[in-house]
């Protein structure tokens, strides 16, 4: 791994990142001269991740978490904003430079049934990225490294020539993690990497993420909808709601004393596996607002129990509230 971070420990910095999708209506709405609608999947978000840190990105379906992962890896191009990797403008990289850089940022996806090619052996799946990035030349070298990788993720030599269908969901996710590590990345982005797994297996994979981080000094951007998973894995947390980050800060602080009404609502809605805890309840009105042509003002307008007149008019900016915490709410 490159040892550049001695002076500056900032690995990834995102400023004003935006992705708008234009929804082209059908031919009738076009003939009627209706304006195309805009879906604001990610609407100006700021966050940063330091080396060796885990940032947990949490929110409900459709809030823009996965789009954020795709933007940061340039799998899709943003509409606006800045993505800085090791203080360089990632969005300005040439395709060639970008290809080289992909080795530094790796992804682990939610569904290990669709993220591994069913027609390739584990040897192929794990050695191909090394070939592409010129990390291993001879067959022996590759095999040696693949064996090491398997060992690191808790699999063994007998698995090397098998195909993905011969593995259980948890084992496949281990393979997906090994593939991400095969090019010695600095940043690993997990997009709901444990959501498809049963609880007993989920705990194994969460422990694996933690162990690998300690061993290799990895940095994680960990995306999940499950709050207890986020609480477990993250150093810092960013809570998203309809394309916006509404609250961010150290995990312990946010979970112990949430400040934003949406974070509070999320936490109150989690059913904890302890009958002595208060039952889950919803402290917000109605359902998740739409990201299509959202009205001005706070996205939580109309649902919030602490709404002020200003909320419908001015979008609350993310402001510092001390202790490394930031909240976007007019009524603090």
């Amino acid at each position: 791994m490159t040892a550049q971070g001695a002076t500056d420990d900032m690995l990834l910095e995102v400023r004003g990142l935006t992705k708008h999708f234009t929804l082209h209506g059908d031919i009738y709405s076009k003939l009627a001269g209706e304006k195309a609608q805009v879906l604001k999947a990610v609407d100006g978000i700021d966050f940063h991740i330091r080396r060796g840190e885990t940032l947990g990105l949490v929110g409900e379906s459709g809030c823009g978490k996965s789009t954020t992962a795709r933007l940061v890896t340039r799998l899709i191009e943003p509409t606006g904003g800045e993505v800085r990797l090791k203080d360089e403008d990632l969005l300005a990289f040439s395709p060639r430079r970008m290809k080289e850089t992909r080795k530094d940022i790796q992804l682990v996806f939610q569904d290990p049934y669709s993220s591994l090619n069913p027609r390739k052996t584990i040897m192929h799946i794990l050695s191909r990225p090394m070939e592409i990035h010129g990390l291993a030349r001879s067959w022996n070298e590759k095999r040696e490294r693949v064996l090491q990788l398997l060992h690191r993720v808790g699999l063994s030599v007998e698995h090397i020539d098998r195909y993905p269908h011969e593995f259980s969901g948890g084992q496949r996710q281990r393979i997906a993690i090994a593939r991400a590590l095969s090019v010695e990345p600095e940043l690993v982005i997990g997009d709901e990497p444990v959501s498809a797994l049963d609880v007993s297996i989920q705990a194994q994979i969460l422990n694996l993420f933690r162990d690998l981080q300690e061993q290799f000094g990895l940095t994680y951007l960990f995306i999940a909808h499950d709050l207890s998973v986020i609480r477990h894995i993250s150093d810092r947390v960013a809570v998203m709601y309809v394309g916006k980050i509404v609250e961010t800060g150290p995990a312990a602080a946010i979970f112990e004393e949430p400040l934003h009404p949406y974070t509070k609502a999320l936490l109150a809605a989690v059913p904890e596996a302890d009958p002595g805890k208060p039952p889950p309840r919803l402290t917000l009105k109605g359902e998740v607002s739409t990201p299509i042509d959202p009205p001005p003002g706070c996205r939580l307008c109309g649902r919030c129990p602490r709404e002020l007149p200003v909320c419908a008019e001015i979008e609350p900016p993310l402001v510092d509230v001390g202790d490394g915490r930031q909240v976007a709410c007019h009524n603090l």
Binding site: D198, V199, V229, R231, A265, A269, E272, A273, L284, E287
Partner: protein, 327 residues
Amino acid sequence: MPETVLELDDLTVRFRLRRGDLTAVNGVSFAIGRGETFGLVGESGSGKSVTARAIMRLIPDPPGEIQRGRILFGGDNVLDKSDAEMRALRGRHIAMVFQEPMSALNPVFTVCEQISDALRTNLGLSKKEARERVVELLALVGIPSPQKRLDSYVHEFSGGMRQRVMLAMALSCSPGFLIADEPTTALDVTIQATILELITSMIDKLGMSLLFITHNLGVVAHSCDKIGVMYASHMVELGEKREIFANPQHPYTVGLLNSIPRLDIQARHLTPIAGSVCNMMEPPSGCKFHPRCAHAMDVCRRDVPKLKEVAPGHHAACHLHDRGAAT
């Protein structure tokens, strides 16, 4: 215990597949009393949904087959009923809510059409009466302006609203017994909270009994009186909710509870259950959990443990509990 509404006795369901036989439910017994809520918990493939479907006689035969056992509903064995009798039972007396409302509801009929279908068939209401009743039902499950949503199609509703529609349909003929098969699994946590609240309030209001199937221990902790834990087709632990959470007796239940990351404290490491779920086509001998169990003994490899009472009303199927009896 209140009067028993549903009783399963040694229920065993087998699927004859081309690759061989698969026993999905193996000697499962439990009872649910009037007004009680029973949570059936287990990971994927443990047999919980097959159990629910067997109660409704919804197991396709072939390849499925109820090999042994009885399912007593109100004293009568459901397995002896004719197809016509079953049709009279389903919807009218036992209703079911499924995980995926989008695939359980019909996309080409409006909400009103599908719900009134049930009302007209089961209760013999006229078209107009049925329509009025649908409005009441939609209002009951908290769909805003039900008059306007009557003639909408399923795709016009959000996930949470669809689940409400399905609940309205299940409640339409005021059944005494509701089976909910992972009704909130596909939903976001805030929507889940509202649907759980809705189900619990409906159960109270209508005096129904509930069989709640889920993999989420957090959900059963707040919505059930009793819990049954299934692992690889067997019922491994059964008892009052508080007792099971406070004093789990089966190593699998203990392992499950330890695997869940907590919201209030951050542990460096979780304590997962080692290994993975056994292949149900070639299940291990003896206790199905023994390859993953830290306490496995010789007897566990040999004999399937029986469900025994380990404390008043608390049953566990584990050889660790016969040691006192054996020696």
